[in-house]
């Protein structure tokens, strides 16, 4: 944790709560009576990288939408540091506006917040450079590859400089080469910016590679079945991906996931 404190930039003077996100006894039941989630408890400390891992339809996306405030829990309490005003969300699909250029897509959150034009331009330029898309600012989404669209989506989530980044299987639809590259980019981003990241995925390998905590969930309703800490030397890179340590973690988490699938009754 001392490393974390040192790495936080000096410009960051916002007071930070102990937990960035805290869920207590959260459940979600849909209108048809299907129990999708919970009861679900999760505390995520500030600056942590947590993966929610589970089979499709286990309610992990629902949990993420509840944290973002896009969906109301049926019961339980949700506490988000900063009252949820400081959240960046990356969807499973790039979810870009096809009628707007890359630049306008990334500028959207600032435009909605009615920030002054110069301010918007400065932030958009910076974040586009950060994700390596400065040259494509005037391109339209359909002119970009899947990986580049995802980068635009990531840039849009980062442009408001949120404290918390919520990512809903963002790289699931990408090919493996692109996914590995974006994994590394995301790790670098997290290392530099020290955002709190909650990352939903169904890939054991991705969750172990990226996160410091892997939370394994059962299906229908989604509950926490097991939790793993991935304590390894930072920063991580391709060396870690090919190490015996990584393989061992993957085996452990994999076993946890099959136990969770057994509990879920399928």
């Amino acid at each position: 944790m001392t490393e974390t404190a040192l790495a936080m930039s000096e410009s960051d003077t916002r007071p930070r709560a102990e937990f960035a996100v805290s869920l207590k006894g959260v459940t979600k039941r849909y209108d048809r009576g299907v129990a999708a989630l919970g009861p679900f408890d999760l505390d995520v400390s500030d600056g942590d990288f947590v993966s929610l891992l589970g089979p499709s339809g286990c309610g992990k996306s629902t949990a993420l939408r509840i944290i973002a405030g896009l969906s109301a829990p049926t019961s339980g309490t949700v506490r988000v540091a900063g009252g949820g005003r400081s959240i960046g969300f990356v969807f499973q699909e790039p979810t870009l506006m096809p009628w707007a250029s890359v630049r306008d897509n990334v500028a959207l959150p600032l435009k909605l917040a009615r920030r002054p034009r110069v301010d918007i331009d400065r932030h958009v330029d910076a974040v586009l450079a950060r994700v390596g898309l400065a040259e494509f600012a005037m391109a339209y989404p359909r002119e970009l590859s899947g990986g580049m669209r995802m980068r635009v989506s990531l840039a849009r989530a980062l442009v408001t400089d949120p404290d918390i980044l919520l990512m809903d299987e963002p790289f699931a639809a990408l090919d493996e080469i692109t996914r590995f590259r974006l994994n590394n980019d995301l790790l670098a981003l997290w290392h530099d910016l020290r955002k709190t990241v909650i990352f939903v995925t169904h890939s054991v390998f991705e969750s172990v590679y990226l996160s410091r905590r892997v939370v394994v969930m059962t299906a229908r309703p989604g509950r926490i079945s097991a939790e793993f800490r991935i304590d390894t030397a930072e920063p991580r890179g391709e060396d870690f991906r090919t190490s015996a340590e990584y393989a061992a973690y993957c085996r452990e988490v994999s076993a946890g996931l099959s136990r969770a699938s057994g509990e879920g009754g399928r």
Binding site: F89, M97, K111, L112, Y140
Partner: protein, 278 residues
């Protein structure tokens, strides 16, 4: 297919095939038109059909030139009516769809009447409108009644077709209703609105013609449809054909203009504006 020496000729074959298709799209309809005119001419000549029953294409063409001053004035009158009806339908249809989108209550209260207005044949309403309204207004109202519904229903469909996650994103960033409408719903609905307008363009011409014909017996009109009715009474069949030809061409031009506008607005981003190859 992976080796370059094989894919190169296949590319060439593809592009020449594409060219053939686009040439065929122009040449084939023209060939059909010419064949049709030829058959028409032959039928008239061989059967010696008198012009007051069926005039030949040559006579229609000369009538078009000879009567041009009258027909041109009528064309302008019909065009103006169509345009006014179309603008009213576009503004009314989009505005009503926006209102419906903002208030479910309003939609439930008014939508049945919009549908009734749509399914009642305008030719049956036109005489009534001519009784209650000044003629020029009645004609425009007719054009509006026929044309506004496709704009309304298409716009409503477009406004409801917004990507759910994008809507979530707007919600997450605390977008106001106006912001959501301006930056999300209207752009997302634009392809649908333009589709509705393309239908409305042709329909407002039909509405204008129907009303002019209904008003024709009153004798105060001067549009193309009125010319057709008047020429019918006077057995001036060649002029009827000439006016009919002008009406068709007007309809085609309106459609092409709206298609061009649609293409211009959507060419950078919408799938409909791209060829099959992409």
């Amino acid at each position: 297919m992976n080796s370059p020496d094989r894919s190169a000729p296949s590319d060439m074959r593809d592009s020449s095939a594409v060219q053939r298709v686009s040439i065929a799209r122009v040449v084939l309809p023209i060939a059909v038109l010419m064949a049709g005119v030829l058959v028409w001419d032959l039928v008239v000549r061989l059967n010696a059909i008198p012009p007051y029953v069926l005039p030949g294409p040559e006579l229609v063409a000369t009538t078009l030139v000879k009567d041009w001053p009258i027909l041109w004035q009528s064309l302008l009158a019909t065009l103006l009516t169509t345009l006014e009806g179309f603008v009213a339908a576009a503004v009314g249809g989009v505005a009503l769809a926006l209102l419906f989108n903002q208030s479910k209550w309003l939609e439930q209260a008014l939508l049945p009447y919009a549908i009734i207005l749509q399914v009642t044949p305008v030719i049956a309403i036109a005489p009534l409108l001519l009784i209650y309204l000044p003629q020029q207004t009645a004609v425009i109202v007719c054009a509006w009644i026929v044309a506004f519904f496709p704009v309304l229903s298409n716009t409503a469909l477009g406004l409801n077709s917004v990507d759910r996650n994008l809507a979530g994103l707007f919600q997450l960033h605390g977008a106001s209703r106006m912001q959501t409408l301006r930056y999300l719903k209207l752009p997302a609905a634009l392809p649908y609105i333009l589709g509705g307008l393309r239908i409305a363009g042709g329909l407002s011409l039909i509405g204008a013609v129907v009303a002019e014909i209904a008003a024709g017996s009153a004798g105060a009109g001067s549009g193309l449809a009125y010319r057709i009715a008047e020429s019918g009474y006077r057995l001036n069949i060649p002029r009827m054909f000439a006016a009919l030809l002008l009406l068709s061409v007007t309809g085609i031009v309106i459609y092409m203009c709206l298609a061009a506008v649609s293409h211009l607005l959507l060419r950078r981003w919408h799938e409909s504006a791209f060829g099959k190859e992409s």
